[in-house]
Subunit: 62 residues, 2 copies
Amino acid sequence: MHFNELIKIVKKRREVLQVTQETLAELSGVGLRTLKQFESGKGNPTLLTLQKITDVLGMEVT
Amino acid sequence: MHFNELIKIVKKRREVLQVTQETLAELSGVGLRTLKQFESGKGNPTLLTLQKITDVLGMEVT
DNA sequence: CAACAAAGAGCCATATTATGCACTTTAACG
DNA sequence: CGTTAAAGTGCATAATATGGCTCTTTGTTG
């Protein structure tokens, strides 16, 4: 899966759950700045960061 | 998917294809040291690094 | 055992990510 | 227009990934 698609999916999932970036950051333990960078397509997160995010969203990296 | 499972899958896939770490490193453009660290479970690769590796192996991160 | 190939690990320099803080932009209201 | 919430950005620093080189360990084969 392409990077941009991944971002879209994560972003959409967060919005469906009606969670703000700030809340997701807190819940996942990822820095708000990091999350913002990721969602705005300017990041290259580590696998750990991505997993923290997807875990909270009930998603999975495979 | 858990980190360790991911590693196992990648490793197994590489072995099935009978490709050495060295060759995979060259083909994927990832440093040999980085690949070794990843496969030995001591890494936390960036998404880009992981994708470079899985691309060559004909796998996909989703 | 000896020899070889592949994998793992230490050291170290450089590049990049993760993070907080403050500020700006955007969007949706009244 | 003014207000407010959410998202995006600039900047600095700490932490971590990357990658080359070298050495050690492991596994296989004669």
